[in-house]
Symmetry: C2
Subunit: 434 residues, 2 copies
């Protein structure tokens, strides 16, 4: 019987493992709870009406069509039975493995305030993106309808919590939506009066970047009409707004970009984890005490040179590559590559039209040139010629026409029936209210 490799999660890490294992004569099973691989670095562009969902998501089966050694399963993992080496699915099915790779990513974390999620959704899935898109667009619609000045101002206040790349990229486009795209379309409100807030508990925005680029980003956002508030934590969050350093700010649209929590892998494995729930792994990315299990990407706590490897796409791909090479070496009886070394591919973030920051070691770049480099790099990393063509064309179109292409409010009826987030959903569903 062939060696059975089970990979859970078809994100950057999991998919890289599959690719690098090509031709290794194993029996590979890839399990994901989604039917698509998602290009998360551009998810914020779906949330802010720039791209369509299908531009940045690809059916996993189609990607692996030629790989007859790979079986793709749509399923949700509920646990791992390490005694008999089986992955347990939620439907009760069990998938036996000889080698197990877990790369199940992360969700946003609310630091113990999970109830904030209803009013301050995060951005990890396509549904998260269309939810945020709907709320952004509905806020302008409601502002147009209401006769109440206070309510109008609250509808036209958008707060993004957390000033990492995602937070910065979100406020950048929201500000452009309000200041460049929507003006002229409403008759009662001036969308340019919208207030776009970027809130960060730490001392400065884009903390992963150097001081100079961080200062440039603050300046570039301010020029685009974004108010940046650093050094003050959010202490409360409701459908009415947020409390920031004791001050209540009415804001009907709040987006969470402040922190992540690893997937439940640590529970499945009964493994030691860090505060963010990431499984602490050996230097070769295997689970301590069980070399047949690898944990990769946002779910793993990996250190290199005493530093935590960040939860970014290049790190996940590199880990996938390392794990796959380790597995190959073992199967061929060769010496495995040993410790994982993280090669920092630099940091990139866009701020808005003609403004981005790039840092690669000591090299720094900002402004319009960085913006073009950022765009070309992301086109390059997309999968397949079709997505490259369509995303390039979409961006070109927006650049030339100033018109965002995916300004759709969807899921309205579904929301009416929503049970859990009842009050909020009812508000979303009823359309404009006065």
């Amino acid at each position: 019987m062939k060696h059975r490799i089970v990979i859970v999660g078809a994100g950057f890490a999991g998919l890289t493992v599959v690719k690098v294992l090509k031709g290794c004569d194993c029996d590979i099973t890839l399990i994901d709870q989604r039917n698509h691989h998602l290009f998360q670095p551009l998810l914020y562009q779906v949330a802010t009406t720039l791209l369509a969902t299908s531009d940045i998501a690809w059916p996993i089966r189609a990607l692996l069509r030629e790989r007859k050694d790979v079986t793709t399963l749509l399923g949700t993992v509920d646990g791992v039975d390490r005694d008999v080496c089986e992955v347990i699915l939620c439907d009760g099915n069990r998938v036996p493995y000889d080698t197990l790779v877990i790369a199940t990513g992360a969700r946003h974390a609310y630091f113990g305030k999970d109830h904030w999620e209803v009013d301050a959704p995060g951005l990890k899935t396509l549904e998260d993106a269309t939810t945020i898109r709907r709320r952004l667009l509905l806020a302008f619609e409601r502002a147009e309808v209401t006769e109440d000045k206070t309510e109008r101002e609250a509808q036209l206040t958008f707060a993004v919590i957390g000033a990492g790349p995602t937070g910065v990229e979100l406020v950048g486009i929201i500000a452009e939506l309000a200041h460049r795209v929507l003006p002229g379309e409403f008759r009662r409100i001036d969308t340019r009066r919208a207030k776009v807030l970027l809130v960060e508990a730490g001392p400065r925005i884009l903390p992963a970047f150097g001081d100079r680029l961080s200062a440039y980003a603050t300046h570039a956002l301010a020029r685009r009409g974004v108010e940046v508030k650093t050094g003050v934590p959010v202490t409360e969050c409701s459908s009415d707004g947020i409390v920031l350093g004791g001050e209540f700010i009415p804001a009907r649209t709040v987006i969470w970009a402040a922190g992540v929590q690893a997937s439940r892998a640590k529970d499945w494995l009964g493994a030691k984890a860090d505060r963010a729930g990431r499984v602490v792994v050996n230097a070769d990315l295997t689970l301590p005490g069980d070399p047949s299990i690898f944990v990769l990407g946002d779910t793993a706590h990996v250190e290199d040179g005493g530093q935590l490897v960040p939860g970014v796409a290049p790190a996940a791909k590199q880990q996938g590559n390392h794990a796959a090479r380790t597995i190959r070496a073992r199967l061929k009886g060769r010496k495995p590559p040993g410790s994982f070394r993280y090669r920092n591919m630099g940091n990139l973030a866009t701020i808005g039209r003609n403004a981005a920051v790039i840092e690669y070691g000591r090299f720094q770049m900002k402004g319009w040139l960085a913006w073009w480099v950022w765009g070309i790099a992301h086109i390059y990393f997309l999968i397949g010629a079709r997505s490259r063509l369509f995303v390039s064309l979409s961006w070109l179109w927006i650049f030339l026409s100033g018109q965002n292409s995916a300004r759709l409010i969807t899921q309205k009826e579904t929301l009416k029936d929503l049970n859990v987030s009842g009050e909020r959903a009812a508000k979303d569903a009823e359309g404009p209210r006065v």
Copy 2:
């Protein structure tokens, strides 16, 4: 004060009224419960993974950006107070009118079996389309997972009820999905063994077309692996399958394309309606006894030469044009154009790659040439250069590569929380089951 024209519904009829009223120096308010105009003739292509939602839907505000005489309101109408000439919205707001145009379309009708909707969704909105897309794709996933042969066959049976153009177009693409796109992507099932059924209570498919084209369509569908069953009504419909002429057919995916019911306009107006709920209007499209109210499109029962004008896009546009010209004439004190005359622009339907039928008066066309004409005609009717470019490119890409571009299962989490269609939603949400 300017003459106030309120238009409810931004479909083909409502939007045409707005366009033709350009420059008439009125105060126009356009109300819709959606923020987008939807190109319904291509909605089935979203449901069957060919197009993205944003390819066929445009924000109404963006379409009317330059029309400073038009105020767009996102809102749901709850009634019309004819005594004081006001439209009542669900949020309690009232919008006064001098002239009212109602063009609120239709939904699918289940002939008194409304509970069938949960298991046999129809296709009228973007959410309907993504729901159907999710079910189609999930069925293949579940068939791949199950060990039970009977269950696998039921998952691989797709039934479309109703053989008008929508039903025919749906089965055509579903069959191509199973026979051309998906084979090679699954490891345990052969998707070519999927059973695609087109069920019609009437004696033949495409009843609006002549006998010869109808027979050609039946033949073309059969060649693509579709089983056509005519002359037998569906008497039961559940999550397990359908009952057809006494025989139970296990089918986990059922789509409804069998009939429509007009919007609630007849209740708002207290007006006389036909069996399908369409308001019976005068020859000039006004409400009997109230010349200040027009009812258009799928919501109106309009006759021309003793024949009911069909509920198709060209008819809606022509009615919008007629109503707008009538309003203009009245405002200028000129003689209104009088009775509405329907100009039949012919019937078009695609059956699949290289197969379509076109009928224009006594002229008939079928096969690959009809398919190209159909495609070019639909590109022409799309709004704006962007959609034309992107839809053309999407089709070209699919034509050349054989790969559909929007094969996404979305809304999974939302479904988990669904209250109303509880059991069905739970099944959808849990992913594959055995």
